[in-house]
């Protein structure tokens, strides 16, 4: 078979990346991102994204060339990178030229003059040749990065990633550091500008990470060996110290960060909690439940109806009594809905549960049930939790007085969510190691085999489903209290998809993975206004990419890692 010419393959790579770059422009990312700087007064995030596209075109083309020629030939690699970057630049230049003639804005909302200005670096259409030039240089660099020895490549990549991360969060760090006092504030102003890193800050971070990374690659093995050599007690105490540190940060964070970040952290904690719940259903037992939001809604409405001092409040009981009831109600409805549905297999189950979720939302928001659930107006005036005794209920729309400590602020709810999450994590962890947990995994791997081995399918699945529902109900209950009101419109399918995504990103069946996933998918977009506009687009892309590249997730559980890399492990053993 005749092999493809490497230049032609580079041209193709360049064109494909160019089309992707145009997609990024039209979707609106470039324009929105160009409002934030990576390095102040030097390069905006929007330009950076395009630059990264050209760079990766070069990198990919260079890798293709190596595989086509079956070895690294520095000159061909560099030429391929150059060509790929050049073509990416040409495609973008073409966009600018066409855009100057034809009004693309009639179709694509984001084909604005601002976009063209960003693309031509504010120099006008006449200077559009600058784009292929930049593309060629970036592509060359991308190709060159492949040729670097491993020992240099890794520190540089890590440093780049870290700089981008810091640039993204520069505003946040700046605010937090300035609040800490005058010394910190000086440092903050030195490192972070108004909209991005300062040049000095960039250099410090870049070189710092390279230094640390190099040090680690020389000494890391020694340190690891040192830790394993420690006596058992020593290792245990090291672990305790690490956990204590994490706990200290997790508990102290909302106190120092101010109300906005506190709100974000609560949301993350809430999603961790729900993620841990769905993790039992999806991660352990392999049941894809897209109607998770139904139980979330049931929990929220139960707490709402039981504690609200508004017009729909039924009982006016304290939060602490209402929450266990909500969990039980959610669990019971999980059993009610689960009993019939669980006979269905795999993908049909996902769609059936999705149907349930939508039915619950439609019913809760309908005028038909409005006398009970408030319909579109929802339930308002949910009583805040109170440590102490509650005063008597006087009349509608007047909250009960709390004699003691009222937990009204997001920071307070955060602790409730964290405590619940810790409890659920513990339960999930113990369950996973139990006989039941092994039965779940068996079902996940193969229902028929599991049944043949004596696992009662319906009973086992039902338990997973009920536990998932119970934890979703808990999440809903805390959410209702946090917001203080419930509306049927907030019970969208998107909540279920959020939870599913964060489990998949973190790693199915993995408990730390849920936390990583929640921080990555819920926390980061909330903190970054620029990203939050594209969050669902990025979710979609993330789901696909995770399935293609890393189905076990970012932080897989031991078992999944073993399963998916079975052959590698075996090969390792043989070698």
């Amino acid at each position: 078979m005749k092999k493809e010419n490497f230049l032609w393959s580079a041209v193709k790579t360049g064109l494909i990346v160019g089309v992707v770059a145009i997609f990024i422009c039209f979707v609106g990312m470039v324009e929105v991102f160009s409002k934030r700087d990576v390095i102040e007064k030097l390069i905006t995030l929007g330009q950076f994204v395009l630059l990264a596209a050209m760079f990766s075109a070069g990198f990919i083309a260079s890798r293709h060339t190596s595989s086509l020629l079956e070895k690294n030939k520095p000159v061909s690699n560099l030429v391929a990178g150059l060509v790929a970057g050049l073509f990416t630049g040409l495609v973008l230049a073409l966009l600018v030229v066409v855009g100057a003639e034809v009004n693309l804005r009639a179709v694509f909302l984001n084909a604005t003059t601002t976009l063209y200005d960003v693309l031509t670096l504010d120099k006008g259409v006449g200077n559009v040749w600058i784009l292929p030039l930049i593309g060629a240089v970036a592509g060359l660099l991308g190709a060159a990065s492949l040729l670097l020895p491993q020992i240099l490549r890794r520190p540089i990549t890590q440093a780049l990633v870290f700089v981008i991360f810091m640039a993204f969060f520069s505003g946040l760090f700046r605010v937090v550091m300035i609040n800490q006092g005058s010394d910190m504030s000086k440092a903050a102003k030195y490192l972070f500008g108004q909209t991005g890193l300062t040049l000095e800050g960039t250099l410090i971070f870049f070189l710092g990470v390279i230094a640390v990374s190099m040090l680690w690659s020389y000494k890391g093995k020694d340190i690891q060996a040192g830790v394993t050599r420690l006596p058992k007690a020593g290792r245990l105490s090291l672990r305790v110290i690490v956990y204590a540190l994490i706990a200290y940060v997790a508990l102290g964070l909302p106190q120092v960060s101010g109300p906005f970040i506190a709100q974000v952290i609560v949301t993350v904690a809430l999603f961790v909690l729900m993620g841990l719940g769905l993790n039992i259903t999806l991660g352990f037992a392999g049941l894809l439940d897209l109607g998770f939001v139904a139980f979330y809604a049931i929990g929220a409405y139960t707490v709402g109806l039981l504690t609200s001092y508004g017009a729909f409040g039924l009982q006016h009981i304290p939060f602490w009594v209402a929450v266990p009831i909500a969990v039980l109600v959610a669990m019971a409805s999980g059993a009610m809905l689960g009993l019939p549905v669980l006979g269905i297999r795999g993908d049909y189950l996902a769609i059936a549960t999705l149907g349930f979720g939508e039915i619950v939302r439609l019913l809760a928001g309908s005028d038909f049930l409005a006398p009970f659930f408030g319909g579109p107006q929802g339930i308002i005036g949910i009583q805040k939790p109170c440590l102490g005794t509650l005063g008597p209920f006087i009349r509608v729309d007047v909250p009960r007085v709390c004699n003691g400590l009222e937990l009204g602020k997001p920071q307070d709810i955060y602790y409730i969510a964290v405590v619940s999450a810790v409890i659920i994590a513990f339960v999930a962890w113990r369950l996973r190691e139990s006989r039941l947990g092994r039965a779940w995994m068996a079902i996940r791997e193969d229902e028929d085999v599991a049944e043949a081995l004596g696992v009662n399918l319906i009973q086992t699945k039902l338990l997973a489903y009920m536990l998932g529902a119970a934890f979703a109900g808990l999440g809903g209950a805390i959410f209702a209290t946090l917001i203080g009101s419930i509306f049927a419109t907030s019970m969208q399918l998107i909540v279920s998809i959020n939870v599913v995504s964060l489990i998949i990103v973190g790693g199915m069946g993995s408990i730390p993975g849920v936390i990583v996933g929640a921080i990555a998918l819920i926390g980061l977009p909330e903190l970054l206004r620029e990203v939050s506009e594209f969050r669902f687009l990025l979710y979609g892309a993330t789901l696909i990419i995770m399935m293609l590249a890393k189905p076990e997730g970012l932080w897989p559980s031991q078992a999944t890692r073993r399963e998916l890399h079975h052959t590698e492990v075996e090969a390792g053993v043989k070698a």
Binding site: N110, P340, V341, G343, I351, N456, L537, G540, I544, M547
Partner: protein, 355 residues
């Protein structure tokens, strides 16, 4: 070999709950229907209107359902992004039709003004579906079932929010076609022209698709691949090509359905594909997934049920504003059909073989 009393009790409980559901549902429908008919609030003319609307809406569902059913037949995979392919078709047609409307073309040639956007929508939708298949589905062939499903959910969200980025969160109004306004008098009953045209167009498309699948070489290859990929490959069929053309064909139908849908409802927006997508899936399961005539029957049944249902039995049960619960009827049907007869109305033969 179930011996423990606990397990026997559980089995009993399961079948008890299932029977309870069935009886409750049938009773609710019967009581509601009788109450409505006795109250006599609607004239027979209104009922006919409901049914006609149901048929035209159902034929759109059927058209979308074909894509689900064909892909499922070949890959055993729920193409969750299919509803969004439908949306892309509607958008493509919207922009073309708006431009044509601006030049006055639609008013002078109403038939071409209808057909050209449909054709364009079919091409765009087919192209996007081929891209989605290439990027998000093909590399995952042979992976555990949940993996492609999750990837498809990702593709669905990606398409929705990419289009939101392109065209904004607003809703566009599909340009009006003057020739389709007003009513036709059929057997003394006035019926909206749009609804007739939509239903007829949908049936023509379905007939075309059916003959492609039954009488052409590609169609034969499709049927062979859905029987067994390996055997088909041994017979010299390029399985990958057939899978791609199945996606493209189903997507083209969905794209056309997108145009017909916007003709009736006159609204084009980035989220418009979600609900019709789920309903079309319901229709596909209703008719027996993997079964092409089944998808058509399922679509019609669902469309009519959904259009007649709120007034026929929900109102009789004393539900205020039953129209709000129209979607709930479709979802209930979805859950019920998955529970009680996952092989569908016409699908028994096929599904038992391939389950």
């Amino acid at each position: 070999m179930r011996t423990s009393p606990g397990e026997r009790l559980l089995d009993l409980a399961v079948s008890g709950v299932l029977w309870g559901f069935r009886i409750l549902l049938v009773a609710a429908i019967l009581i509601g229907t009788i109450a409505t008919i006795r109250a006599g609030k609607y004239t027979s003319e209104q009922w006919i209107d409901f049914v006609v609307f149901g048929i035209s809406q159902g034929s759109i569902y059927a058209l979308i359902a074909l894509g689900y059913t064909m892909v499922y037949g070949i890959l055993r995979m729920i193409n969750f992004a299919h509803g969004d392919i439908f949306m892309t078709g509607a958008f493509a047609a919207y922009f073309l039709a708006t431009w044509m409307n601006g030049t006055g073309f639609i008013d002078s040639y109403p038939i071409l003004g209808l057909l050209i956007p449909i054709l364009f929508a079919m091409i765009v939708a087919g192209g996007i579906a081929m891209l989605v298949e290439r990027i998000a589905y093909r590399p995952l062939r042979g992976a555990p079932r949940l993996v492609p499903l999750i990837s498809a959910i990702g593709a669905s969200f990606f398409l929705e929010y990419a289009f939101r980025g392109f065209f904004g969160p607003g809703v566009y109004a599909y340009p009006p076609i003057k020739a389709l306004e007003g009513e036709w008098d059929i057997l003394g009953i006035g019926i909206l022209k749009v609804q007739v045209v939509v239903a007829v167009a949908a049936f023509i498309m379905m007939a075309i698709l059916y003959s492609i699948v039954m009488f052409t070489k590609v169609g034969k290859a499709m049927r062979a691949v859905s029987e067994s990929k390996d055997t088909a490959a041994l017979m010299g069929i390029d399985v990958n090509r057939i899978i791609v053309s199945t996606f493209a064909l189903g997507a083209a139908m969905a794209g056309a359905a997108g145009v017909l849908y916007s003709l009736i409802f006159r609204q084009v927006g980035f989220f418009m594909g979600f609900t019709p997508g789920i309903k079309a899936f319901t229709a596909a399961v209703l008719g027996g997934i993997g079964n092409i005539p089944g998808a058509m029957v399922g679509g019609l049944v669902l469309g009519i049920f959904e259009s007649v249902g709120p007034s026929l039995f929900l109102e009789g049960l004393g539900i205020t504003r039953p129209y709000q619960l129209k979607d709930a009827i479709a979802y209930t049907m979805l859950v019920m059909i998955l529970l009680f007869r996952p092989s569908g109305i016409l699908g028994e033969r096929i599904t038992t073989k391939k389950a």
